[in-house]
Amino acid sequence: MSLAKPMVAERLERPVSSRGHSMQIRGLSAYYGAKKAVDGITMDIPANHITALIGPSGCGKSTVIRCLNRMHEVVRGARAEGEVLLDGENIYGPGIDPVQVRRLIGMVFQKPNPFPMMSVYDNVIAGLKLNGRLDKREADAIVERSLRQAALWDEVKDKLQASGAALSGGQQQRLCIARTLAVEPEVILMDEPASALDPISTLKIEDLMQELRERYTIVVVTHNMQQAARVSDFTAFMLAGDDRVGRLVEVGPTDEMFTRPTEKRTEDYITGRFG
């Protein structure tokens, strides 16, 4: 992989499951203007697994996950320090184009955000269109494949030309997942992807994540501990101290975190004593 000059076309030719992609976070701190929001996060994100970020509201989960594809710096005045490695290459290194980073590390947001002026079909290929013209046959194939991967094909195959905003909330979120899958990223970041959805849609998204794990490396933020326990392989627990700066408390295999956490604060949070 080369972050400096990856071509989507080139990546499309590569067999998808040829190898997994892992990430490492090294001493990551994030700021909003002069205010430090997150301090010194260091952890690993193993390939083809689901890593959950949990912690009470405001502890910096969204901030951290947005640092993983350089989306954090899109906010005016926001910046990050430290290193985030994708397959060993620092995405904050000199000469790295954040646009290319985001092509390799896709993101699904808390609130479903399909493009309302585009059809379902165009929503799915929106990212690919950025790379130039697609011929119709190729586009059709990608749309179908992505929607199938997002478990949405059967529900929308007859209304591909309807507005992306005409779907239900759960369908919109799966459309956003399909749109992310269509550009074949290496890692998928999800910031509370089901928090705006009803329980049935939530389950669908959770099932979907299990399937996607085969092909993708996934990081998911959730403030729902049951969800973290259900879906993730690894769990990282974050907490903001009295200074309102978020820090990593501990990270480990999910079953261990939920059965015998090493930190007292993790246990308190998991057993519902605060947060």
Partner: protein, 322 residues
């Protein structure tokens, strides 16, 4: 939001509330009533001319008070041409400026520039008119129009727009002054519309690997489009009704309809302003009132269209069906 907060109280069990409601309701009808009254009064005075000339009032371009031949076609033409000219020149510049302000300009620059633009929108039109009369029109005559005539005027079909003597007080200059006058209006509304595009639309596009330019092109502009069209239509409505500045630079002389933008002309508003004091006969007066009725209705229709379009963008996702 609950029904109470929206002002739709459940049942009117409280005497005071319902009285209050009813008086508020009647107040709400005041502007509507005023508008209807205005239209009715104009209609009443315009009727003699409309009845006498019928469709000819809109299709002929003789305007002869002596022989009582009144046709508004040249004025409608002048209004439409100058307004569209203003719109075509102003809209791309305004949207460009709004995009720059909302998407590229550093924070410290945005406030002052936005404020200046609001200020420009508030300058009385007589000031634009004076400037147009003393600065713009002479400049058009001496430099801009001869230049256009020599360059664009040589092109086959298109050249017809830039032919004839260059007088400086003509449709082109009027269109230009209108462009300058509506530029601030369109810019500041466009800026609001662009700012109201939710961040999640921008981030969604960036998250797919879009550059800043692609994000604006594929996420911001499509989402904002109805609102931007609305902004342009509000600008157009302002141009249609603009009187003072146009009257000072349009020449106020010819009722010919020719393709050349170098033709001096009239707009509906400028002819009303110029001639209402001279209307000594009843039918002349009636014809002038009929002009104002036409102008009023055109602006009304355009304003309503603009509002519907702007509301569609600012009210949230489009195309939502349940």
């Amino acid at each position: 939001m609950s029904a109470e907060l929206l002002g739709q109280s459940r049942g009117s069990s409280h005497q005071g509330d319902s009285l209050f409601e009813r008086s508020i309701l009647s107040l709400a009808f005041v502007p509507v009533g005023l508008l209807l009254l205005l239209v009715a009064l104009l209609w009443y005075d315009a009727w003699p001319a409309l009845a006498r000339y019928g469709v000819r009032f809109f299709t002929t371009n003789t305007w002869d008070p002596v022989f009582e031949n009144f046709g508004a076609a040249a004025f409608i033409y002048g209004t439409v041409i100058t307004s569209l000219l203003g719109l075509v020149i102003a809209t791309p510049l305004a949207i460009g400026a709004a995009l720059f302000l909302a998407a590229y300009a550093p924070e410290w620059l945005q406030g002052p520039v936005a404020f200046t633009i609001e200020l420009l929108a508030a300058i009385p039109s007589i000031i634009y008119g004076l400037w147009g009369f003393f600065v713009l029109a002479p400049l058009m005559r001496s430099t801009v129009e001869p230049f256009l005539k020599e360059t664009l005027g040589a092109i086959p079909i298109l050249g017809a727009l830039f032919s004839g003597p260059t007088i400086g007080k003509d449709l082109l200059t009027a269109g230009l002054i209108l462009a300058i006058m509506i530029l601030p209006t369109i810019t500041s509304i466009s800026r609001e519309v662009i700012r109201s595009v939710p961040d999640n639309q921008r981030e969604g596009m960036l998250g797919l690997g879009a550059t800043r330019f692609e994000m604006i092109r594929y996420a911001v502009l499509p989402y904002a489009r109805p609102g931007l069209i609305g902004a342009a239509i509000l600008g157009l409505a302002r141009a249609l009704g603009e009187t003072m500045a146009v009257t000072m630079v349009i020449g106020n002389s010819s009722t010919r309809i020719t393709p050349s933008l170098f033709t001096p002309g009239y707009t509906l508003a400028s002819v009303i302003a110029n001639q209402f004091t001279e209307a000594d006969k009843e039918i002349y007066f009636s014809a002038i009132v009929a002009l104002s009725l036409v102008l009023l209705l055109v602006s009304l229709v355009l304003n309503v269209m603009a509002r519907v379009l702007v509301a569609r963008t600012t009210r949230g996702p489009l195309g939502v069906r349940n």
